[in-house]
C-alpha cells in the first residue's frame, strides 16, 4: 500500500513537465498583456480576455494559414497511404524480379535525413518554378524519404497476413490489384491507422521545409506563422503567439484524447517497425 502511494506520488510529480507547458500555453493566451509576466505566476487568468485571439487573425491571414496546414497534411496523408500501401504490398506479397534490389534502394531513404538533401531539393523546385508554392511540401513527403517508413510499416503488416486469404480470392478469379484492394487492404486497418497518424503529425509539424520553400504570408503553414507574431523590434508578442499555438495544438490534442489507444499503439508500432 505504501509502495503504491509512492508510485502514484512519483507519477504525479513526473506529470508536471509534460502537462504544465500545455496548460500554461492555453491559460496565458487568455491573459491580458499586463498579466502574462505577473509575479507571482498565476495558474489562471484574473481578467480572462480573447484579445490575443482577435490579434492572431488581425496580424496575419491566420485562417488561410490554418487551411494551408490542414489541407497539406490531409493531402500528404492520403497520398502517402496510396504510395506506401501499394509499395508495401508489392514488397510483401508480389514475387517480381528485382524486388530485393528495389527494396534496398527504397530503404536507403531511411538513411538520408531531409536536412541533407534540402539544398538540391530547393534548387530543383526553384528550377521548376515551384518555390513559394505548396508543391514541395506535398510531393517530397509523399514520394520521398518520409514515405519510406510508411512503406516499411505496410510491408511488415502485409507479411503477417496468412496466404490462405489470398488463395481464396484467387480462386474467385481476382487479379493482383483485386487481391490487394478487396482482400488485403481491408485487413490492413491497424497499419493504415498508424501510418495516417504519424504522417499527419509529421506534416503538421514540418518547420525547416516551409521556411526554406515559402516566402509569402498567405502561403505559410502554421508552425512557420507562429513565429511571425513579433513587435516592431522583433520581440515576441507572447500572448498572441500562445493563442495561435493553442489553436494549432488543441484540435490535435482533443482527437488524441478521444483516440489515445490508436495514437499510442499506432505510433509505438511505427517506432518498432522503423
Amino acid at each position: 500500500m505504501k509502495l503504491k502511494l509512492t508510485v502514484y506520488a512519483v507519477l504525479l510529480v513526473c506529470c508536471v513537465p509534460f502537462v504544465f507547458p500545455t496548460w500554461w500555453m492555453a491559460t496565458t493566451s487568455l491573459k491580458p498583456v499586463n498579466e502574462i509576466f505577473a509575479f507571482p505566476p498565476a495558474l489562471w487568468p484574473r481578467d480572462a480576455t480573447l484579445d490575443a485571439y482577435r490579434q492572431v487573425f488581425e496580424l496575419q491571414p491566420f485562417a488561410q494559414q490554418y487551411v494551408n496546414s490542414l489541407y497539406i497534411a490531409i493531402v500528404v496523408t492520403a497520398g502517402t497511404l496510396v504510395v506506401s500501401s501499394l509499395a508495401g504490398y508489392a514488397f510483401a506479397r508480389v514475387p517480381f524480379r528485382g524486388s530485393g534490389v528495389v527494396f534496398v534502394i527504397v530503404l536507403a531513404g531511411l538513411l538520408v535525413p531531409n536536412e541533407v538533401t534540402i539544398i538540391p531539393l530547393y534548387r530543383m523546385f526553384d528550377g521548376l518554378g515551384l518555390v513559394n508554392t505548396h508543391w514541395p511540401l506535398i510531393l517530397i513527403p509523399i514520394l520521398g524519404a518520409p514515405s519510406v517508413l510508411a512503406t516499411f510499416i505496410m510491408r511488415q503488416f502485409f507479411i503477417t497476413l496468412p496466404r490462405e486469404l489470398e488463395e481464396a480470392g484467387r480462386v474467385d478469379g481476382l487479379g493482383r490489384f483485386g487481391l490487394f484492394w478487396q482482400v488485403s487492404l481491408p485487413l490492413a486497418k491497424p497499419a493504415i491507422g498508424a501510418v495516417a497518424i504519424f504522417t499527419f503529425l509529421h506534416s503538421w509539424n514540418l518547420f525547416l521545409e516551409p521556411i526554406v520553400f515559402l516566402s509569402s504570408k498567405e502561403k505559410f503553414t502554421i508552425p512557420q506563422a507562429l513565429t511571425q507574431y513579433v513587435d516592431a523590434y522583433g520581440g515576441a508578442l507572447w500572448n498572441v503567439q500562445l493563442a495561435a499555438a493553442t489553436m494549432s495544438a488543441l484540435p490535435v490534442l482533443i482527437v488524441f484524447v478521444l483516440a489515445q489507444r490508436q495514437f499510442v499503439e499506432g505510433l509505438a508500432q511505427a517506432g518498432l517497425k522503423g
Binding site: 501499394l86 509499395a87 541533407v116 539544398i119 538540391p120 503538421w204 508552425p223
Partner: protein, 313 residues
C-alpha cells in the same frame, strides 16, 4: 465444302495445352513493378539524385546572390576543415545528442517501469506523458521559450521557493540544457511506450525465479529486465540519436544557435550557410558531413547489436 473439311484439321493441328502468355507469374512481374513505381521514382528523384547533387555542389563555389558557380575541387572540404566554427558546431551537436539520448532513454525506461506496475489509472498517466508528442512542435517550443524567459514562468515559480533562477536562454550551458530538456519532454513518451511494450513481453516466471533465488529488486532489473529488453534499448537509442541530429525547429525558435555559437548544431549551421549566407556549395559540404555522421552512427549501432544485445527479437 472445303471450309468444312479444313476446320477439324486446324483444330487438330493446334497444340493441345498451350498456356496463355499472361500467366499469374508474368502478371505479377508487371503488377509488382507498377505498385512500387511511384515510391521508386520518388526515392530516385527526391533522395538519390539530390544526394548526387549534394556531392556535385560540394565541389563548387556557389554564391546564389552573386550568381557564381565555379568548380573548385576540394576547396570546400579544406575550408570546412579550417572553419573555426566547425569545432563548436560538432561539439554542440555531440553535447545535444549525448545529453538527449542519456536523459531520454533513462526517463523513458523509468516511466515505463512505473507504468508497468499494473496500478489503476496508469492509462491516464500514459496519456498525459504521451500528450506532448501530439502537440505541434513549434507550439511546444514557443511555450517553453516563454517559460524560460528571465522573467518567465519557471523563474517565477523558482522565485516563490526562494531560488534566483538564471536567464536560461542567455547562458551557454543553460541554453544547451534548455534545448535538450524541451526536446526531451516533447518526445520521451514515444520511447516510453516502446519500453512499456517490451516490459510487458518479459515473462513473469523469470522474475519469480529470480525472486526465489533471492535477487533484490535492482538485481532483477539489472539482470533480468535489461538483458531481455536490450533489443528495444538499441532501437530507441538509434531512433533518438538519428532524430537528435536533425533538431532544427527548437534551435531556430529558442536560441537561433546562440548565445554566441553555443547551440549552433550542425543542421542549424547548414541552414545558416545555405539559406542565410547563400553559400550553397559550402552548405552542401556540411550536408555531406551530416550524412556521413548519420550513416556511420547507424552502421555502428547495428554492429553493436551482435555483441551487446542479449537476443534477437
Amino acid at each position: 465444302m472445303t471450309l468444312l473439311a479444313e476446320k477439324p484439321a486446324s483444330v487438330l493441328r493446334r497444340p493441345p495445352e498451350r498456356a496463355p502468355y499472361w500467366t499469374m507469374r508474368r502478371r505479377d512481374q508487371l503488377a509488382g513493378w507498377l505498385m512500387v513505381a511511384p515510391q521508386l521514382a520518388g526515392i530516385v528523384a527526391f533522395v538519390i539524385v539530390p544526394l548526387g547533387l549534394v556531392v556535385w555542389y560540394s565541389l563548387h563555389e556557389w554564391n546564389v546572390l552573386a550568381g557564381t558557380f565555379d568548380y573548385v575541387g576540394g576547396e570546400n572540404y579544406q575550408a570546412l576543415l579550417d572553419d573555426p566554427r566547425l569545432g563548436p558546431a560538432l561539439r554542440a551537436t555531440g553535447l545535444f545528442s549525448a545529453g538527449l539520448v542519456v536523459l531520454n532513454l533513462s526517463l523513458a525506461l523509468f516511466l515505463a517501469v512505473l507504468l508497468n506496475q499494473k496500478l489503476r489509472g496508469t492509462v491516464v498517466f500514459r496519456t498525459l506523458f504521451f500528450s506532448p508528442v501530439v502537440v505541434t512542435l513549434v507550439a511546444w517550443t514557443i511555450v517553453w521559450g516563454f517559460l524560460l524567459q528571465d522573467n518567465g514562468g519557471i523563474n517565477g515559480f523558482l522565485d516563490l521557493v526562494g531560488i534566483d533562477g538564471p536567464n536560461w536562454l542567455r547562458g551557454d550551458t543553460t541554453a544547451m540544457i534548455s534545448v535538450i530538456v524541451v526536446q526531451l519532454f516533447k518526445n520521451v513518451g514515444l520511447n516510453m511506450v516502446l519500453f512499456l511494450a517490451a516490459l510487458q513481453g518479459v515473462p513473469a516466471e523469470l522474475y519469480e525465479a529470480a525472486r526465489i533465488d533471492g535477487a533484490s529488486a535492482w538485481a532483477r532489473f539489472r539482470r533480468v529486465t535489461v538483458p531481455l529488453i536490450s533489443p528495444t534499448i538499441l532501437l530507441t537509442s538509434i531512433l533518438t540519436i538519428v532524430g537528435s541530429l536533425q533538431v532544427f525547429a527548437q534551435i531556430a525558435v529558442l536560441t537561433q544557435g546562440g548565445p554566441g555559437t553555443s547551440t549552433t548544431v550542425l543542421v542549424y549551421y547548414l541552414y545558416q550557410q545555405a539559406f542565410q549566407f547563400h553559400h550553397f556549395g559550402y552548405g552542401a559540404t556540411i550536408s555531406l558531413l551530416l550524412f556521413v555522421i548519420v550513416l556511420a552512427l547507424t552502421v555502428l549501432q547495428w554492429r553493436m547489436r551482435k555483441r551487446w544485445v542479449f537476443h534477437e527479437a
